[in-house]
Amino acid sequence: MEYTDVVMENFTCPKHVGEIEGANGIGQVGSPACGDIMKIFLKINDDGIIEDASFKTFGCGAAVASSSMATDMIIGKSIEEAGKFKNSDVVDALGGLPAEKIHCSVLAAEAIQAAIEDYHNKKAQQ
């Protein structure tokens, strides 16, 4: 199994690790039994733009790298744009993932969608 340099870079020096204070969209997917859990934090402003994003991940190198890349890619995007975000976008940006690690990118895309959904739910309750 071979990781690209971009994957290794994002694993060793991941961007956007941690929790954002005042995050208004939080999504968590995965399960410990499968060996990966991804939690994404979004700070979305009144114009519907993702001002900041961060993550906390329990998982392998590909899971950490996917989280880092995915959060980096959606910052500055509108929630409409981020809603169209696909796992293949992460895979491409990472320069590819081993076949058995593709699910890590799926997890990242799902966590973002879950965070956006959480944002909508919270807004609807207001």
Binding site: V29, C34, F58
Partner: protein, 401 residues
């Protein structure tokens, strides 16, 4: 960067003395040992000398040693060969649920062929219970196969006691001793075993050569059919160079056993103490005393094994993990699940296996760096003592598998 290799349970570097012993057999002594002319006869003698070296290493008669292509082949042969030959007497086999896949998957294959297999459970340390074994034995039990020492957690099973129970019942007993040889004494007479699998590449020999000890008179079918090699029991032109190498490696392993074991044990205990003292939320897997001298296996809560391995690799350390992410399968190690660990914890396992060349500086380096690696990964993890796995809310718990 200097590399620190701590995966000796996976494989070992071939000892230079062993390489030296085997090299002439590729070019100078290339003859087929079955040939009647000089080139063949000389090679035949070297094979028999190697067979004697192996026999001495496990206190067997050289005529009870049969070379195979690997430890896996030896396991396959022992189990399938006994099952096929003795099926008229019964079709029941007993094994444990922490065996190497070479044993487990062979047993599963036989189940599909109409055999019945009992998989004995193990306790939290990975030990089988002798009472469980006694209770599992039936009139139609033809084979008991229990590993000598576990490859993942290093637990040493009570092989001698198992052998006594099995012998009393007149059942054939096989043990996979691939991890045991070179680490702890292996004496087939003392242990009451009928068949025993070993492999060269775990004892500083080359890959691609193993052996099966078959006690004289044990009824067994062949696995590899063809020519009359290995006293008509295992066909295929002898892998002369590697057989010679295996013999040399076995001889050295026997000579150095006490010295190597004491060295590894000292470093093992240093590593265990260092990690347990300096890193919180860690557990040692396997038995605290009844374990291989070179085996260390930890679970670090809240983090995943492959991340630890990658982080160690970056700083020059080679280790292994029972995490699913490192195995290509979806489930974590069957051994860690068998000792009762939840899957989420089993994913955070790290196995470091020490060898004869490992130094105290190596161990200190690993401990110091491991502290930072675990801390960094835990900071990144969404689960911790305040937010444990059980309380975490999952939007899509079974999303991707």
């Amino acid at each position: 960067m200097k590399r620190i290799y701590l995966d000796h349970a996976a494989t070992t570097p071939v000892d230079p003395t062993v390489v030296e012993a085997m090299l002439p057999f590729f070019t100078e002594y290339f003859g087929n040992p079955s040939s009647v002319y000089t080139e063949g006869r000389g090679v035949k003698k070297s094979i028999e000398a190697a067979r004697l070296q192996i026999a001495k290493a496990i206190n067997a008669d050289p005529r009870e040693i049969y070379f195979t292509g690997s430890g896996s082949e030896a396991d396959n042969w022992a189990i399938k060969g006994i099952a096929m030959k003795n099926q008229a007497k019964g079709k029941h086999i007993i094994t444990s649920n922490i065996e190497h896949h070479a044993v487990l998957h062979t047993c599963e294959y036989l189940e599909k062929q109409g055999f019945e297999v009992t998989y004995l459970p193990v306790d939290e340390y990975g030990l089988i219970s002798l009472d469980d074994l006694r209770n599992a034995i039936r009139k139609d039990t033809i084979l008991v196969t229990i590993m000598f020492a576990n490859n993942e957690i290093g637990t040493i099973e009570p092989i001698k006691e198992i052998g006594e129970i099995v012998k009393e019942k007149g059942i054939i007993f096989h043990t996979d001793a691939v991890q045991a040889l070179g680490n702890i004494p292996v004496d087939v007479k003392d242990l009451n075993v009928d068949l025993l699998s070993i492999s060269a590449h775990k004892i500083y020999g080359p890959k691609g050569i193993g052996a099966l000890f078959i006690r004289k008179g044990v009824p067994i079918d062949n696995l590899i059919h063809g020519g009359a090699q290995e006293r008509k029991k295992r066909a295929g032109t002898e892998n002369t160079a590697e057989i010679v190498a295996f013999g040399k490696a076995a001889e050295m392993a026997t000579e150095q056993l006490e010295e190597n074991a004491a060295h590894m044990k000292k470093l093992r205990d240093l590593l265990i103490k260092g990690v347990m003292d300096k890193i919180p939320q860690v557990r040692l897997n396997g038995h605290p005393e009844k374990r291989l001298p070179g085996n260390v296996n930890f679970c670090f809560d809240y983090i995943e094994g492959e991340s630890i391995l990658l982080s160690l690799d970056i700083i020059g350390v080679a280790g292994s993990s029972g995490s699913a992410c490192t195995s290509g399968s979806l489930d974590p190690s069957h051994v860690l699940l068998a000792i009762g660990l939840p899957a989420g914890v089993a994913h955070g396992s790290l196995r470091l296996t020490i060898g004869k060349h490992t130094t105290e500086e190596d161990i200190n380096y690993v401990v110091e760096n491991l502290i930072q690696i675990i801390e960094r990964l835990r900071k990144m993890s969404p689960i911790n003592a305040d937010c444990p796995i059980d309380d975490a809310v999952f939007d899509k718990a079974d999303h991707h598998h």
